[in-house]
Amino acid sequence: MENNTILSVGIDLGTSTTQLVLSRLTIKNFASAFSVPRINISKKEVIYKSDIIFTPLLNQQTIDAAVIKKFVTQQYEKAGINKTAIQMGAVIITGETARKDNANAVTEALSGYAGDFVVATAGPDLESIIAGKGAGTNITSKDKHQLAVNLDIGGGTSNLVVFDGLDVIDTACFDIGGRLIKVEKKTGKINYIAPKIEKLITELKLDISYGTTASPQLLAPIIQILVQVLENSVGIGTKSPYYDMLVANHGLHLNPNIPLVTFSGGVADCLNENLPTDIFKYGDIGLLLGYALRNSQIYRDKQVATSLETIRATVVGAGSHTTDVSGSTISFTQGILPLRNLPILKMARQDEQGDTAELAEQITKKIKWYQVENELHNVVLAFNGLKNPKFSDIQRYAEGITIGAKTLIEKQEPLIIIVHEDMAKALGHSLYAQLPPKYPFVCIDSVKVENGDYIDLGEPVADNSVLPVIVKTLIFG
C-alpha cells in the first residue's frame, strides 16, 4: 500500500476576519504488509495560509459574496493550486457572520465555487470543536491526561470546547468577542455596538452610544462583565446576572473541574500583561478584553497552556481536522461518491437487538421522521453494530435494512450504512446479496456518529480502501 494524500481546504468566514488554509493530509497503512490494512491519517500539514482579511460586508446585515469569491480565487492562485485538485474541506461560517441574512446563500455559493468538495455550515457547537482541534487543545489534554477547555474568542463570539484526551465531551458558546464594540481609529469614536451590548448598556445605565469617544475607563464596566461571564463559563466565581443573557446557544452542560485552559481566536493574540499604548489599534475592544482576561481569575485558578494556533485556530481546524477516514474493510458500489450533507439516522442499541422483523419495523418507523411534507430525503442509517458478530447477525442486519428501508429503495436512493464496530465489509456483501441487482450502496465502519449529525463522504482514497469522511456535529449534548 502506497502512501496517499488528501488535499483539503478550510475557509473561515468569521465575525471579523475571513481566512483560508490548504492542508495536506497523508494517509498511511499502519498494518504490516501482510495483514489486513489499517489505514489512518498519519500526518496533517498546513501547506498554505492565506492573508487574513476583514470579512467583507455590504452592510451590517449582508455579507459581500463577490469580494469573498475574489479572495478565494486569488488565494488559490497564490498557492498555485487548481481547485479541481481539492478533495475535501469545509467552509465554515462562524460567530455573528452566521446570523447575517445571506449566510446560507454565501456558503452554498462558495462551496461549489471553492472546489468540488463538501461544505459544513457550522453551528456554534461544531465551530467550537473545530477551533479547539485547530488550537491543539485535544493534544494538550491527551499529553497531560487532564481535561482541557479551549476558549476561542473571536470578534463576535467565544466558543468553548472541553476535551478529555482526544474526545470532545462538551461545548458552549457565548456572545462575547473583541469586536462587539467598534471604534473609529482616527477619532476614537464608537461606530458600532452589538445588540446584546446595547442591552447591557441600557441595563447598566451607561452613557455610551454611537459617536461617544471611547476610553478604557468608560468601557470598564462592560469589559468587567464580559470577563466575569467568561470566568463563569469555565466554572470560576459567582454567576453574573448577565450570564444567561450572553449565552449564545448554551453554556457547558457538565460541571467538571477543568484544570487546563487554552485560548484561541483573535483575542488570544491580545492577552497582554500590560495595556498597550494604542489601545484601539484594531478599532475594537479586543486589546481591552485581552488585557482584562490576562489579569483575570482564569490565569490564577487554571493552568493556561500554549495553543498551536490562535487567530487561525478555526480555519486550520476546518482545513486539517474535519476530515477523517473510514475503517479499512468496507464496501461500496462505484460511481455514487461523493455524497454530502446526509442526515444521520441512528438506531438505538435496543432496536438492533430485535429480530429481523422488529429491526425492519424500527427502521421504517424512523425513516418516516425524515419525511418532510411527504417528500422523503435520503438519510444515512447508522448502527452501533456488534463487537464480534456471528454470520447470522450480519444476515439479520442486512435483511432488516433491506426490508426496513423499502421506501428508500423504491425511490432508488443510494443506501448509506454506517456501523461503528468493524463489520461493514461482511454487511456490505450481505446487502449486495439481498438488494436488487446493481443497487447502489455504501457500507462503512469505524465512524462514530449520533442522531443530529450530518455526514459528507468523499471519493475513495488509498486504492479504494477507505473513504474520507466529515462528520458534522450540529447538535451537541
Binding site: M1, S35, H145, G165, T329, N388, M423, K425
Partner: protein, 301 residues
C-alpha cells in the same frame, strides 16, 4: 497490619482448599445434592476478569490515566506485587491463561463440527498429537491412501480450494469456522465466485505446508487454508488464513498471503471472511499471491 493481612490470606486460601476437598469428596458420594447445596461457594471464574480493566495498584497517583493506558493493551500492567513476587490473583490468572493455551494445542477439534458442515475428513501422516508437535514435516503431507481419498472426494481443478486445519489451536477452529465459511461464500458471490462446503477439506494434525500438497492433488487455482494459530496468553482462539496461488510443495513461503489475528478481540471472523473473499478474487485475476501479489499491487498504482 501486613501480618494480619497475610494471616487472613492464608486462612482464606486454606478454607478454600478444604472446601474444595470437601466438594470433591462429597461429589463422588452424591453429585446432585452437592450442586444445589454448595453452588454459591464456587469460586469466581478468574479468567472472566477483563485484564484491561483489572488494576491492582493500591494508591495510584492517577488511576484514570493508568486505566486509559491499560485500555490500549492486553498486557498485564498495573498488577502490583507482594514483596518481590506477583500477587496470587495475577499468578493464578497467568496459569489459567497458560492452561487454556495448552489445552488449545493438545485437544482435538470436535469431529462433529467439520462433519456437520459437510467437510471431507482427512489427516496428515501424523498419528498422535505428540508426533504432530515433534515432527512438523509429517504434518505437511498425506499418505497415498489419504491422497486417493482426497482425489476421489473433491472436485478436479477447482478455482478455489478451501481447507480447514486444526493447526496449533483447535479452539480457534471451533470458535471461528462456523462464522467465517458463510462470510467467505457470501463475499465471493459479489465477484461471481463460489465454492461448495462438500468440497472443503478438513485436515487433522495440520501444518501450513499441508495446503501445498493439497494444491498439487486437487490442481486448484487458489488454495485457502484456515488454520489455528499457536496460542498465546492473550487469546487461545486466534485463527489465520494462508492463501496461495497454485501452491507446490517446497515453494518459498513468500508466495503465501496471510490474514492473521482472526479472533473475537482481533479481526472478527465474518469481517475477515469478507476480506478473504476479496483477496481470493484478486489472486484469481492477477494469478499471483504473497510478495508477487504485493508487487503487482504496487505497480498498478
Amino acid at each position: 497490619m501486613d501480618e494480619q493481612e497475610l494471616k487472613n490470606m492464608v486462612k482464606n486460601i486454606l478454607t478454600e482448599m478444604t472446601n474444595q476437598e470437601k466438594n470433591t469428596e462429597s461429589q463422588s458420594k452424591d453429585s446432585e445434592s452437592i450442586t444445589n447445596e454448595d453452588s454459591d461457594q464456587v469460586l469466581d471464574d478468574i479468567t472472566k476478569i477483563d485484564l484491561r480493566k483489572q488494576f491492582l495498584v493500591p494508591h495510584p497517583h492517577d488511576r484514570e490515566g493508568y486505566l486509559k493506558m491499560k485500555s490500549f493493551t492486553p498486557a498485564r500492567l498495573g498488577m502490583w506485587r507482594s514483596g518481590t513476587r506477583y500477587k496470587t490473583a495475577s499468578v493464578l490468572r497467568f496459569r489459567a491463561d497458560h492452561a487454556a493455551a495448552q489445552d488449545a494445542v493438545f485437544s482435538d477439534v470436535d469431529p462433529k463440527l467439520p462433519k456437520s458442515m459437510g467437510f471431507i475428513m482427512t489427516q496428515t501422516t501424523c498419528q498422535t498429537k505428540d508426533e504432530y508437535i515433534t515432527r512438523p514435516d509429517r504434518g505437511r503431507k498425506f499418505t497415498d491412501e489419504m491422497v486417493s481419498k482426497i482425489r476421489s472426494h473433491t472436485q478436479k481443478h477447482p478455482k478455489i480450494q478451501m481447507i480447514v486445519g486444526d493447526g496449533l489451536s483447535s479452539a480457534a477452529i471451533e470458535a471461528n469456522v462456523r462464522e467465517i465459511i458463510p462470510a467467505i461464500k457470501q463475499g465471493l458471490k459479489v465477484y461471481g465466485l463460489d465454492f461448495d462446503e462438500s468440497n472443503v477439506i478438513f485436515v487433522k494434525y495440520c501444518r501450513v505446508g499441508a495446503e501445498d500438497h493439497i494444491g498439487e492433488i486437487t490442481d486448484a487455482d487458489v488454495v485457502c487454508l484456515l488454520v489455528g494459530e499457536r496460542p498465546g496468553l492473550v487469546t487461545a482462539k486466534s485463527m489465520s488464513a494462508y492463501i496461495a496461488y497454485r501452491p507446490t510443495r517446497g515453494m518459498p513461503e513468500a508466495r503465501r498471503t496471510v490474514v492473521s489475528n482472526i479472533h473475537d478481540g482481533g479481526l472478527p471472523a465474518v469481517e475477515a471472511g469478507a476480506y478473504i473473499a476479496e483477496l481470493l478474487d484478486k489472486m484469481l485475476r492477477l494469478k499471483k499471491s504473497g510478495i508477487d501479489l504485493k508487487t503487482v499491487d504496487n505497480e498498478t498504482k
